[in-house]
C-alpha cells in the first residue's frame, strides 16, 4: 500500500496495519524533518509531488521489494505540503518471517523512494532563504 497525504503521518496507527501472525519481524523507517541540512539551520520544508506518477512509481517499488525479498507486508506513506521540524515526511514498514529480509527490504524501499519518486523538497532556512534540494547528484550526507 502506498499513500500520499497532506495531513500528519501517525506511524503508530499505521504500524497496526502490519498485523500478520506469520510475521516474526517488523522493520519500520521514519524520515523526519531535521533541524539542519548540509550545515544550515532549517526552519521548515515544503514537499510537492506529481501525484499520479508518484503513486505509480511507488507501487512499482513496493512490487519490486516483494519480488526481491520474501516479505509479508510492505507499506509506504509520504507526506506533502508544509512540514515543521520533527514531523514525519515519509514512513516505510515491512513485515516478514525473519529479520534480515525485513531490514533489507525496508532499506531498499526507502532508497528507491528517495531516488525515484517525483517528489520535490524546498528547504527554508532560519535566515529566510530557501532552496529546492535534490538527491540525484548528491551524496548520502545530504539525503538522509
Amino acid at each position: 500500500m502506498f499513500k500520499l497525504t497532506d495531513i500528519a503521518i501517525d506511524p503508530s496507527a499505521l504500524t497496526k496495519t502490519l498485523k500478520n501472525d506469520a510475521a516474526g519481524a517488523v522493520v519500520s523507517f521514519e524520515g523526519r524533518v531535521r533541524n539542519h541540512n548540509d550545515g544550515r539551520a532549517v526552519d521548515h520544508l515544503i514537499y510537492q509531488s506529481y501525484e499520479k506518477l508518484a503513486a505509480k512509481e511507488a507501487e512499482a517499488i513496493l512490487k519490486e521489494a516483494r519480488e526481491r525479498y520474501p516479505v509479508l507486508e510492505a507499506h509506504c506513506v509520504h507526506r506533502v505540503g508544509k512540514l515543521e521540524i520533527g514531523e514525519v515526511a515519509v514512513w516505510v514498514a515491512v513485515a516478514s518471517a525473519h529479520r534480515k529480509e525485513a531490514f533489507d527490504a525496508c532499506e531498499f524501499i526507502i532508497d528507491s523512494i528517495k531516488h525515484r519518486l517525483p517528489i520535490w523538497k524546498k528547504e527554508t532556512y532560519s535566515d529566510g532563504s530557501h532552496e529546492w534540494v535534490n538527491c540525484r547528484h548528491e551524496t548520502e550526507a545530504v539525503c538522509p
Partner: protein, 92 residues
C-alpha cells in the same frame, strides 16, 4: 520519386498542456499552461520554454513524462498531450 511531405506529416500546431513542479514552477510563476505550438518533441518543447522563461535546468538533469508515463525526450507529441518535466527529485 520525390518524397514530398504529405499534409499530415507537415508541421502543424498541437495543443499541449505543460504542468510545472518545484523549481520550474517557481521560475515559470504558474502551475500549468496550455500552449499552441508546432514543436514535435519534449526536447524541443523544453528548449523553447527555457528560452522564453530562463529555466535554470538542462534536459540532461531531468526526465520527462507524457500523459503520466515516463517518456523519451524524442517522442513525437500529439494534440492534447500533457507534459511534465521532472527536476531532480528529493523524496523522503
Amino acid at each position: 520519386m520525390i518524397n514530398l511531405p504529405q499534409p499530415n506529416q507537415m508541421k502543424q500546431n498541437h495543443k499541449l498542456t505543460v504542468i510545472y513542479y518545484a523549481i520550474l514552477r517557481d521560475q515559470r510563476g504558474i502551475d500549468s499552461e496550455t500552449i499552441e505550438t508546432e514543436v514535435e518533441t519534449p526536447l524541443a518543447l523544453f528548449g523553447k520554454l527555457k528560452e522564453e522563461h530562463g529555466f535554470s535546468l538542462e534536459p540532461e538533469q531531468m526526465r520527462v513524462a507524457v500523459n503520466d508515463e515516463i517518456a523519451d525526450w524524442q517522442v513525437k507529441l500529439a494534440d492534447n498531450d500533457v507534459i511534465v518535466f521532472l527536476p531532480p527529485v528529493a523524496g523522503g
